[in-house]
């Protein structure tokens, strides 16, 4: 397979007309894809209710803009190929005016750039992951036990008062660590607007953590098919001021069902 044909990049290739057309298309399409891709998705995601969720939105933006030049490049070439030289009919057009099979420079460039983008995504992801993991170890956090069962969530609050509720109450700007388990099958504990999720597995505890930073009512849903009424396994999260939260907690009776023990949340 000796390649005697010319490369894409020979002579003053950047002055060729088709190269210029592609360059212009590339810039326009990249801007378009990046803008539309981020705006539509960010709008759908809605307003964040925690730094974790704000970070998810930030990541969506970063990755979309990082991918936009690649998508724009493929789109530019596709669009040009689609518009440039079309033939209809039952017989093929004459063969192309070249027989280029290879371009070491183009290939090397493509692979290096995709490797760099991959590295970038990894680094960005690792930094964000590290932040999420650090929240689990926050010494100031309060600990809430979450028990999933077909098809309700029960929340057990700290303080030895035996409080259990099905609507989750959280104090604003207070780090919370959730210890999540299940009584029957797998569920997935999803605080939608707070941007955290962890599966509830029978017989074991899994952890996730978040600091809500906005007062309001949000959603908790089950994100893992758990049987008949999976769709209805959802409830509200009420994020309120510290005083309101304390008042609410004090007003609740001891249900005697809490999983919380004196040794701590998951003992």
């Amino acid at each position: 397979m000796q390649d005697t044909n010319p490369d894409y990049f020979t002579g003053q290739w950047w002055k060729r007309k088709d190269v210029k057309t592609h360059a212009v298309l590339w810039v326009i399409l990249t801007a378009f894809i990046g803008y539309v891709g981020t705006e539509v998705q960010v709008r759908a995601l809605g307003a964040p209710a925690s730094a974790t969720m704000a970070n998810v939105i930030h990541l969506m933006r970063v990755f979309t803009w990082a991918a936009a030049p690649v998508a724009g490049f493929a789109a530019a070439i596709s669009l040009e190929a689609l518009l440039h030289d079309r033939h209809y009919g039952d017989n093929p057009p004459p063969e192309a005016d070249h027989a280029i099979r290879n371009s070491p420079r183009a290939i090397a460039l493509w692979i290096v750039i995709s490797a760099l983008l991959c590295l970038f995504a990894l680094v960005v992801g690792l930094i964000a992951l590290q932040k999420d993991d650090a929240r689990l170890l926050d010494a100031n956090a309060i600990h809430v036990n979450v028990v999933g069962q077909q098809w309700v969530w029960d929340f057990d609050y700290p303080g030895g008062s035996g409080v259990r509720s099905q609507v989750l109450h959280l104090p604003v700007n207070q780090p919370v660590v959730f210890h999540v388990t299940s009584k029957d099958v797998k569920h997935s504990f999803w605080l939608v607007q707070l941007g955290v999720k962890i599966d509830a597995n029978p017989g074991v505890f899994t952890e996730t953590a978040v600091t809500p930073n906005k007062i309001g009512t949000f959603d908790v849903r089950c994100a893992e098919l758990c049987g008949l009424l999976h769709a209805y396994m959802q409830n509200k999260v009420i994020v309120e001021s510290k005083e309101d939260y304390e008042k609410w907690l004090a007003s609740q009776p001891d249900t005697g069902k809490t999983t919380w023990t004196e040794a701590g949340a998951t003992a």
């Binding site: 088709d18 995601l45 057009p93 070249h98 692979i111 960005v124 599966d199 994100a223 893992e224 008949l228």
Partner: protein, 624 residues
């Protein structure tokens, strides 16, 4: 089975040279399968002891169901004639020459499509038809899902039935997409493309097809005894508490996994051993690489799937506790086994479809494939990495939080070989002369859909973003973009491209155009809507949803209806053209690969004299 044994003796029958196999076909298979299942059912019903305190509780009915299904399977395979040749061999004999020719379908009649025929062309057509049947059934189920999601309150389908519809839609579409390229085109076209007279193991070829038919029945059966209410992933312990229909899923997967393993061994051997003289690896068409990569990837993946379901069946029927946390098992074990199959499996689906479009790209741009070597590297790279990424489905499972970072690394690395496939396609489009046909436009559709599917995959591969996206409709839309937007687009293009060779007629041009646009536009409308509700926070597999998801779901339903219209038009085009289409010339696309050098209809042994290959198939374009 004893009766069959008696009949297989070479002296029995009226025509001494073709014995029992003359009488075996799909009808005897169904009859014997049904009879065996009923007999086993009655026997187990009267013989198996009742559940008691000493024996494991609640397993008797599972035992009865599973054993009856195994009875069906053995009866069916015996009835179709799969055991005749192995039995002869055990007796120290072999099939006679006449019998082998009969099995190969020498008579060229219509009946050979309904029996254990070994000719790869017959098997290819059989696969094509069963793929279309599967897509038809899966499509109807998809429309039922959309109909139920027409209103936020859910509605007229009972939640149990709805969950079962979701699970069945999932698993049969997965199976349909796994076989959609390697089945019809891998069997019919691939051997001709490499210049062979048949597959390496023709009987295994017939076996792989009839195993799929045998597998289908337990799945249908399962629908009537409680359904598959667990989604296609059938996670334990949910699958453990699911109704008896779950056994249908277990049997279906076990038999289908056998089929995949058999087909994988067969296709791999054929390509490695039977390429025409002179067809070096550098001259082997890229489609062949795609098919081999797909089935070779399935070879390590599906035994694990098989195993996971055997253990699931044992938990149900024998009272073991592989997946039962309360008794020392682990649901995470199931998740690991399932996704060790599940992630390679998506590339099993995707690679041959992309490779088929790479094969077509030079034909419809009249220029050489851009960088064959990069294409091969891309396919190889995806294969290698895809077995190392499975736990990205389990970021949020809590199984091993410390492994999230390494799995994020391997997952993101896949973007490099995937990018290579993009480079090959856009490099080939660059400065080509576009011959505007459905396969040519499918290349653009693939680039568009696969780009969206790929970029959304980056968000999902990122652990913190996945903490929001996992388990939402966003994931559902993402994998529909890859498997349907990229995979099915490639399969439909393959159908249009190879239809003339497989049927001797051209596929109706106008109808396939209309179908192409309806499917592509409908697809993008449907799944952009689904991305949107996913981002808004709608979980997967729900039969009711909050009012804010109204608009997105409506958009998705409209898109789904458009896809359905397009697919029905394609079906009409296929049936119409197959029966009375324009007769196809030998090489309608003026392509250079070997399958276009054989006449229509393709003779029984493909080539009169085996071809000799001296260059690759991409020699288009004027050498300057």
């Amino acid at each position: 089975m004893t009766t069959t044994m008696a009949h297989t003796a070479p002296t029995s029958g009226h025509t001494p040279k073709v014995g029992i196999i003359r009488h075996l076909n799909v009808f005897t298979a169904f009859a014997l399968g049904t009879i065996t299942a009923i007999v086993v059912w009655r026997l187990t019903l009267s013989l198996l002891p009742a559940d008691s305190e000493t024996a494991p509780l609640f397993t008797r009915e599972d035992k009865i169901t599973l054993l009856s299904m195994i009875g069906w399977f053995v009866g069916f395979m015996t009835g179709i004639g799969a055991l005749v040749a192995p039995f002869r061999w055990v007796m120290g004999k072999d099939l006679s020459h006449d019998e082998n020719m009969f099995l190969a379908g020498k008579d060229m009649g219509v009946k050979r499509y309904f029996r254990y025929t070994t000719d790869h062309k017959v098997v290819g057509i059989q696969y094509l038809v069963i793929t279309m049947v599967i897509f038809g059934m899966g499509g109807i189920l998809a429309m039922l899902i959309r109909a139920n999601l027409g209103t936020p309150e859910g509605g007229w389908i009972h939640p149990q039935a709805y969950n079962s519809i979701v699970g069945t839609h999932g698993i049969i579409m997965i199976v349909g997409t796994i076989i959609m390229v390697t089945g019809p085109f891998g069997n019919y076209i691939m051997p001709i493309m490499i210049g062979a007279r048949d597959m390496a193991f023709p009987r295994l070829n017939a076996l792989s097809f009839w195993l799929i038919v045998a597998a289908a029945i337990p799945l249908v059966w399962g629908q009537f005894i409680g359904g598959i209410s667990t989604g296609w992933s059938a996670y334990n312990p949910l699958a453990g508490q699911a109704p008896l229909g779950m056994n249908g899923y277990i049997m279906f997967i076990c038999i289908f996994a056998l089929s995949t393993m058999v087909a994988g061994a067969n296709i791999t051997t054929t390509v490695v051993r039977m390429r025409a003289r002179g067809m070096t690896w550098n001259r082997t068409p890229i489609f062949i690489y795609g098919v081999v990569a797909s089935v070779a990837l399935a070879l390590p993946a599906f035994p694990v799937f098989f195993l996971s379901q055997v253990m699931s069946g044992m938990d149900r029927a024998l009272g073991t506790s592989f997946y039962d946390t309360a008794r020392g098992g682990s649901g995470w074990l199931y998740e690991n086994l399932f996704w060790i199959m599940g992630h390679p499996e998506v590339y099993v689906i995707l690679i041959p479809a992309v490779a088929a479009l790479m094969e077509m790209a030079p034909v419809f741009t009249r220029r050489p494939l851009f960088s064959f070597n990069v294409a091969v590297m891309g396919i190889a790279g995806i294969c290698g990495l895809s077995v190392l990424v499975w736990a990205h489905h389990m970021y949020m499972s809590g199984w091993a939080p410390l492994l999230n970072a390494p799995f994020m690394l391997t997952t993101e690395l896949i973007s490099i070989p995937t990018g290579m496939l993009f480079l090959v396609l856009i490099g080939t489009l660059w400065r080509g002369r576009l011959w505007v046909t459905v396969p040519a436009l499918s290349i653009f559709a693939l680039l568009w859909n696969f780009m969206i599917g790929g970029v959304t995959g980056i968000y999902l591969s990122d652990v913190p973003a996945d903490a929001f996206l996992h388990g939402s409709m966003y994931v559902t839309a993402h994998f529909h973009y890859t498997l349907m937007g990229a995979g099915l687009t490639g399969a439909i293009a393959s159908l249009v491209y190879w239809f003339p060779k497989m049927t001797g007629r051209m596929l109706d041009k106008k109808l396939s155009w209309i179908s192409f646009w309806l499917v592509q536009v409908g697809f993008n409308v449907a799944f952009i809507g689904m991305f949107f509700v996913g981002l808004q926070g709608q979980p997967r597999r729900v039969e009711a949803y909050a009012a804010i998801f109204n608009k997105g779901n409506l958009v998705t339903s409209i898109g789904a209806a458009t896809i359905m219209t397009g697919m029905l038009i394609l079906l009409a085009a296929v049936i119409g053209s197959w029966r009375s289409g324009v007769k196809a010339p030998m090489n309608p696309w003026q392509a250079k690969s070997l399958e276009w050098t054989v006449p229509n209809p393709v003779p029984l042994e493909n080539f009169e004299t085996l071809p000799v290959v001296t260059e690759d198939v991409y020699g288009y374009g004027r050498k300057s």
